[in-house]
């Protein structure tokens, strides 16, 4: 799960990490009051107007504006609130801005990059910092990897101060700023562990002209499997930021990701689902989605999966690929027929069922009143569904 910048910064604050502070508004009529409140409370004439969407690249997309005066700030809020913000992460359709964060502004001396995530291979957390903050860190990693300073932290032991010092020395900090940075790094690790985050990133973390260390941005990914023990964080989920069909699918306990193609597919198990998408592509088609109905597909999950796929108007044909292990194929076949009965056969449906009672399932499908296209194996199924989609 992801959260907004302001939510992440509030978490930082609760862990003693100094932030660029401010207030969030959702309506334009709150703007003038909030701007003057930020100016007074944080003693900052200039403010920043920051669009709150989950996607990155907000600044480049025009969603973050430095505003030297209250008038300019108000004009910027008017422009940004409600705009359709397009960044390299939103896709061409963009993301509607429903919240704007008005914050204090700082004179920046240096910008740093700062992140913690899990290093799978080492089974340790890796804490990374770089003097090349504010820019594309992937480029830095590829071209000048020596500019990224890393320490690996044993989660059972926790972060030790020598590790935080190594990072702060690496950023060439001195004096009070050095001491503050060490504390910030220690606190940030506490925050990462304490919230069951899988990624926490500050880009940029700054050294201000007056010598303070401040988080100007926040980015979190949380381990969805651990959210049950963080009800306060689970509450921060903003469904507006997610694809509505994906939200619907998650309510059905289905794992769905919308793609751009026109061949819908429904598969049990994530690996087989990806392999099915791949073979559709190899057969000359374009998958419309990833949909994993779970290793143990049931008649009910098949029906819900059908609903989800059909809600995508691009879908011209559907492939159902179930490898029945514990689940019996005849039950899945009955589920398919039930779903077609209820929702109609709007597009051609190719079904490949393998495993327990596959023969019985085939008979059920071929004897049904619907023109469901049976397939023998994955290659056959992919070819048939792509042909069906192209015919239309």
């Amino acid at each position: 799960m992801k959260i907004h910048e302001f939510q992440g910064k509030n978490l930082f604050k609760s862990y003693g990490i100094p932030i660029q502070d401010g207030y969030v508004i959702e309506h334009i009529d709150e703007a003038a009051d909030t701007i003057s409140k930020v100016q007074k409370e944080f003693n900052s004439k200039a403010v920043l107007v920051k669009a709150q969407i989950h996607a990155g690249g907000r600044g480049k997309g025009g969603g973050v504006k430095y505003s030297p005066t209250a008038e300019e700030a108000l004009a910027n809020v008017k422009n940004i609130l409600g705009m359709n913000l397009v960044t390299h992460q939103t896709g061409t359709e963009g993301q509607k801005v429903r919240k704007v964060y008005i914050t204090e502004a700082f004179d920046i001396k240096n910008e740093y990059y700062c992140a913690i995530t899990l290093d799978r291979a080492k089974t340790k957390d890796v804490f990374m910092v770089s003097t090349e903050g504010g820019v594309e860190i992937e480029k830095v990693a590829a071209e000048t990897p020596e500019k990224i300073i890393k320490v690996w932290i044993d989660p059972l032991v926790g972060m030790k101060s020598y590790q935080a010092r190594k990072l702060a020395f690496g950023l060439e900090l001195t004096g009070v700023a050095f001491k503050t940075a060490v504390k910030v790094f220690m606190n940030l690790y506490q925050c990462y562990q304490g919230t069951d985050a899988s990624l926490v990133e500050i880009n940029p973390l700054i050294l201000s002209e007056d010598g303070r260390i401040i988080a100007l941005d926040s980015k979190f990914n949380f381990d969805d499997n651990a959210l049950y023990r963080h009800p306060d964080i689970a509450k921060l989920r903003d469904k507006n930021e997610e694809d509505p069909t994906e939200v619907k699918a998650s309510e059905f306990d289905l794992n769905y990701i919308k793609l751009d193609g026109n061949v819908g597919c429904m598969v049990n198990g994530a690996g087989l689902a990806m392999a099915t998408m791949d073979i559709i592509k190899l057969a000359g088609g374009d998958p419309a989605n990833f949909l994993d109905v779970g290793g143990a597909a049931s008649a009910g999950s098949v029906k819900n999966g059908f609903k989800i796929i059909l809600s995508d108007a691009n879908v011209k044909a559907i492939l159902i690929n179930i490898f029945g292990g514990i689940v019996r194929c005849d039950r899945v076949a009955n589920g398919v027929i039930q779903a077609v009965k209820e929702l109609g056969l709007k597009v051609p449906v190719v079904v490949r069922l393998e495993g327990t009672n596959a023969k019985e399932a085939k008979t059920i499908l071929s004897e049904s009143e619907f023109a469901i296209i049976p397939a023998d194996d994955m290659k056959d199924a992919a070819q048939k569904v792509v042909n069906a989609a192209l015919k239309d």
Binding site: G56, Q89, A115, I116, T117, L118, R120, A121, T123, V126, M128, I137, E138, A141, A142, I148, P155, L156, Q193, D196, S198, L199, E201, N203, K219, N221, D223, N225, A226, R229, I257, L259, V267, N268, G269, A270, G271, L272, M274, A275, M277, D278, I279, I280, K281, L282, P287, F290, G295, F323, G324, G325, I326, E354, G355, T356, D377, M378, K379, A382
Partner: protein
Amino acid sequence: MSILVNKNSRVVVQGITGSEGTFHATQMLEYGTQIVAGVTPGKGGQSAIDGKVPVFNSVEEAKNETDANVSIIFVPPPFAAEAIIEASDAGMELVVCITEGVPVQDMVKAKRIIDQNNTRLVGPNCPGIITVDECKLGIMPGFICQKGNVGVVSKSGTLTYEAIGQLGNVGLGQTTAIGIGGDPIIGTTMIDVLELFENDPETKGVVMIGEIGGQMENDAARWAKANMSKPIIGFIAGQTAPPGRRMGHAGAIVSGGDDTAEAKMRILTENGIAVCESVADIGEKMKIALNN
């Protein structure tokens, strides 16, 4: 011969009285797995599966009473990592965790304990292990397997079944098939399994199925080039997976970018593994490799 489990494995089922545990313990018994004990704290002294399996309060007790040496875990995600640690501390040689949805931080801790105790863990979030006609320690459909000389290792459950099904279609059977799971932190890695298959005289070839994310397939390919004499057929799922659906910048930095299907297929090929572009080619390719 086979790897990890055989007809002599003495199995304890943790979470045997839950619905998943009961269902799969029954299936495993039917396959012929020697299930000697179940564990559900608070239900010690009772029995499960129509009185066939005694239930104990702890893994330690189950081991003392029944000489169990292998554990399989079906407990809910919030308690799964602790169940792994309990099994490891009780001296189980092998622990298979089927549970899906275990928090990563819990797994990091459990992994440290099993490494200290020198316990072999398979999973979590995996279909388990099957040694054909001897022992099914997991949730895979046993009937799709037939005795033979191909080893199968995979990150994914149903994709493992697909590979087994295809091997069957070209007349190839298996020694042992293992789903190692696709979570960020898992016990047994692909290299571990390749090494076991290399040392198993009965296994003549290996099917290795991976997917996008992480570096495990790449590490395994490099290891295999230096250490494996047996042919490997590889497949990587996720060629069409949308980019950007991975963890943000930091994740990409750690992996160095070689975690796409394209990169992994290239690295596997460079290291002498016969890579299938299409999942439908796994069976045929293995047959060709074994005939050479």
